[in-house]
Structure formats: C-alpha cells, structure tokens
Symmetry: C2
Subunit: 196 residues, 2 copies
Amino acid sequence: MGRIKTDTNNSRKEVIIAKAATLFKEKGYKAASMRELADIVGVEAASLYNHIKSKSELLHEICFSVANRYGHFMETVEAETCSSIEKIEKILRFHIHGMINHFDEVYVSDREWKYLEDPYLSNFQNQRRTYRKRFAAIIESGIQKKEIKPIDATTAVLIMLHAISGIESWHRSKQRISGDVLEENMITILVGGLKN
Amino acid sequence: MGRIKTDTNNSRKEVIIAKAATLFKEKGYKAASMRELADIVGVEAASLYNHIKSKSELLHEICFSVANRYGHFMETVEAETCSSIEKIEKILRFHIHGMINHFDEVYVSDREWKYLEDPYLSNFQNQRRTYRKRFAAIIESGIQKKEIKPIDATTAVLIMLHAISGIESWHRSKQRISGDVLEENMITILVGGLKN
DNA sequence: ATTTGGTGCTAACGTTAGTTAGTGTATTTT
DNA sequence: AAAATACACTAACTAACGTTAGCACCAAAT
C-alpha cells in the first residue's frame, strides 16, 4: 500500500499510536482490530509489527503518556504558593484543557485502562490512586483553612474528575458552545460548589 | 451442569440478564464471552440460547431497562409542583440511588451502550438526548426564576450526570464512606454550585 | 402412563482475531 | 557503487468467538 508518512517530529511508531488512540476512542480497545488500524494507517496489518510489539503496547503507551503528564503537573502545582482554591482551579483547568486538546488519548486512558495487562495495570492503578490522594490532600488543606466547605475530600475529587470527563458529551454534541465558555462554566459550577 | 436456578419473581431469562450485567460491567461488553457468562450461570454456552436470542439482546435488555426507568422518573418530576432546585435535587438523588442500588446495569447502560446495534442504538441515543434536554429545561427555568446562577444549562447537565457516574470509583474503593454520606456530599457540592 | 414442551448437553460451523515467518524492495549508510 | 538496514508485502497459524444442529432428559399437563 505504501509507506507510513512521517514528519521530523514524529516517528512512524508515534503516528501509529496517535491513530490507535483515535480508533480505540471510537470503537473501544477490544472492538478495535489491528487490521482496521492498519487500514487507517495505510498499510497491511502485519506491517504494523515492524514498529510495535503488540496491540497492548499501543494501549499502555497511550495510558502512560497521559498518566505521566498529569503526574508531573500535580508536582508543579503542589510546589506553588497559592491558596487551595487557586490550586484546585489550576488542576481543573489543566484537566479541561487535556480533554479539549488531547481528547483521544485522554479518553482512552480514562475508559480503556482496564484492558492493560500486568504489570502495567497495577502500575497504572497505583498512579491513579496516588494522584487522587494528592488532589484530595489539597482539598483537605483548603477545608482546614476554611476556604472550602467541610465536605468529604475524596467525594469532591471523584465528582470533579468525572464531571470533567463529561466533556466527552460536549465533543459529540452538534451545537456546542466554545471551549472557553465551556471551561468557564465548569469552573463556575465546580469551584462555586466548594467555596465556603 | 444443571438447571438455572430461579425463584417465582425471576424467569431464567432474567437471571441470565442479571448475571450478564455483572459480567459486562467487569469485563466490558466486547471482552465478555458467552462461554464465560455460561460458566457463571452454571450451564454450557449453547444452553443460554434456549432463553435468549443473542448476546446483543442481553445488552439492549439491560440498556433499555435503565433508560425506561429514567424516562418515567423524569415524567413524574416534571409533573410535580416545586421549585427548580428541588426538582434537580430529586433527579440527582434518583441517579445516585440508581448508581448505588442498581450499579451493574446502570454502569453497563452508561458505558457500553455504544455496542448496541441499530435500530436499538439510534433509539437509545434519542432517548438519552431527549432526557438531557428535559433536564436542561428544568435548569433553564430555574435560571429564569433566579433560583439558579446564570450558567449554560447543557453544561450543567453534563457535569451533574457525569459527576454521579463517578460513584463507580466509590464502589471500587476499599475504605469507603456510607452511601448516605456520599449522597449528601454530592448534593451539597452539586446543588451548592448551582444556587444563586 | 403418555405426551409435550422446556431445558440441557456435545459437537461443530464459519468468522475474525492477534501475531509470526519469510521474502522482496526501497532507503540510508559506508 | 556496494552493503546494510528499515520497511512493506503475502501467506498462514492458532486461538477464541457467537451461534446452530441434533439429540437426550426431566417436569408438568393430559
């Protein structure tokens, strides 16, 4: 069929991963086939294996690319000296931007991680659990400083993260408001619900 | 292996559907196999087909059971004479109870509906879209009556419904707060974020 | 007691899946 | 220009899937 097109920024492997993310998002990891992916990439199925080891490698490349990005961001936020509310707002905006600008891989990481195989699966779950605990710690600290209503921090984290994953529906919808407006609406509702 | 156990309330088909919901929730629709389901039911795979037409029938039974329940509830809420905030609170509590008490089928309906086949797929999507519009209409009306902050109603619906689906994480977590406390926390944050 | 229908079994079908082997051809390196 | 490497192809394998056919059995109805 021909060669996989690349530019100087992306290797052929990265091209495949990017297209896999789109495919996995649309069909789901299990329902997506390597032959389908090959079609999209413009190559025969067997040829993919010159660049990747397996289908599952694609999944964990996608999931950890996202997980690592969020992990690093959390570190930078923790290091900053600002109010808890401001930290939370920064984290939320980061998540919203992620959902808007890297939708495919974020969506796959969110919904398809359960198909990871060990040791990747356990590793991913650990990173996730840790991330949420760190997020909850910021909220707890805000509650102690009376910036935030006295609610269960774990629940608050869960609400906020899942609310943001609702941007999926925004992507699907026909008549949608702009990304910026969406962002401001989300911040209003979510942060507004926390403030004391 | 033996007969499928039933009681007077549930036919054998209903037993299969209930176990399918649990399996689909855990593995995902595509990854769950009929042989696995048969094992759980305590029967050979082929025997399932004495009670159901196909794997996909199981999925649409599950999805529409949930969709119809929510549709009916929306009707009763619309008919009530109370403030918009109160209506919203009722809807949220209904969703939270659903997530807590009928977790398996609600989860499957939420996450696996995309594997429905037409005409069920289109039908389901229509019901979903309609439901959200009716929910948004209640919010709009609350905004006009100044009960609710002037935010985008569609976004608010999306946030609230997805936030509730976060109860999934609550189910998974080891050290979890009680369902009642969870419910009150959610209401506090979500409704609190709306009030004017 | 006999019939009937519901329910289970074994065996097998056609399809699709992920992946590998082996070969030829472009491209890059020397 | 020659050698080495990267990459794509065809063909095929094994495993698993949903589902069907055909037969045996047990329970309830006649």
